[in-house]
Symmetry: D2
């Protein structure tokens, strides 16, 4: 991408940041679980899965912010094609 | 699961713990990215995707430890059926 | 959605159709594999995975057609918001 | 894998086969949808998603058959390690 890429709205950056902070706290609690010799394998996998879901949610926030800020104005800017390529790449990244 | 669940080997717990510590550091660096008003949406999505890959790796370490510790001895313990149900659930959790 | 939903471009419909035809042929060949008592479990899983990749590709063709036909003209039609909701749902569907 | 790989139980092969037949019929109906110029993009994506779920189910049947036939007897055969590597690969394939 070029230096002229589209910026993320502040609100989306803040909301994504908060979600990542929560995911980070969750990872810390899984690390504490793993210090217990009696931890149950499946419980760890379930907690890791929950964090994956939270990260998916954070990615959704980022993407929604991008779309809301830029789709409606794509034809004015004349960069609809570039936006589409980004969206299709984003789809692969959020899979 | 019952109180008699199978324990995770210490080595697997330690390796999974290390991987989660790295993922946590990675999340922190994404949070710093999000403080920059010029951050690029796609870069954030790529970094979140990388953390998801790391968590997938941590889940793989947990599962491998479980399998290595318990599959070979399933017939002795007589809990092959329970182990299979766990494995099939684990498959869904690591998807 | 309403009766006034946006249509898929003919080209995208044709290309998606061709991909689904190929996936269907692939499924038929996996069914033949499964008639062999000596079929190897992992080979079947690999082939099923390949078909899932092909379906993912077909979904990508559908989505690209939709985006190329409608993003650039969203502000003229005034339905950017609806388009964004669709895109975010599509993301979840192609995961 | 070697020529001495473990066979799939007949029952699992039959059940997987039936599921693939259903998925194939479903793909055929999506192809018919795509012949309609008024087909709605999101409906096609939803149907493709449903087929993906059906294939995931078929893969689950294959894997369950493999596990039920071979985990309990792994220590007798002395191939627990090979079985574990297969399982971990299968996890990746069914993701």
């Amino acid at each position: 991408h070029t230096d002229t890429h589209l910026c993320m709205p502040e609100d989306a950056r803040k909301r994504a940041n908060r979600r990542l902070a929560i995911a980070r706290g969750h990872l810390e609690s899984i690390q504490r679980m793993l210090e217990d010799p009696n931890v149950y394998c499946m419980d760890v996998l379930r907690q890791i899965k929950a964090v994956q879901g939270a990260l998916q949610g954070a990615a959704g926030v980022v993407l929604r912010g991008h779309l809301e800020a830029h789709v409606a104005t794509a034809s004015e800017r004349g960069d609809a094609e570039e936006l589409i390529e980004e969206l299709l790449e984003a789809m692969k990244l959020t899979q």
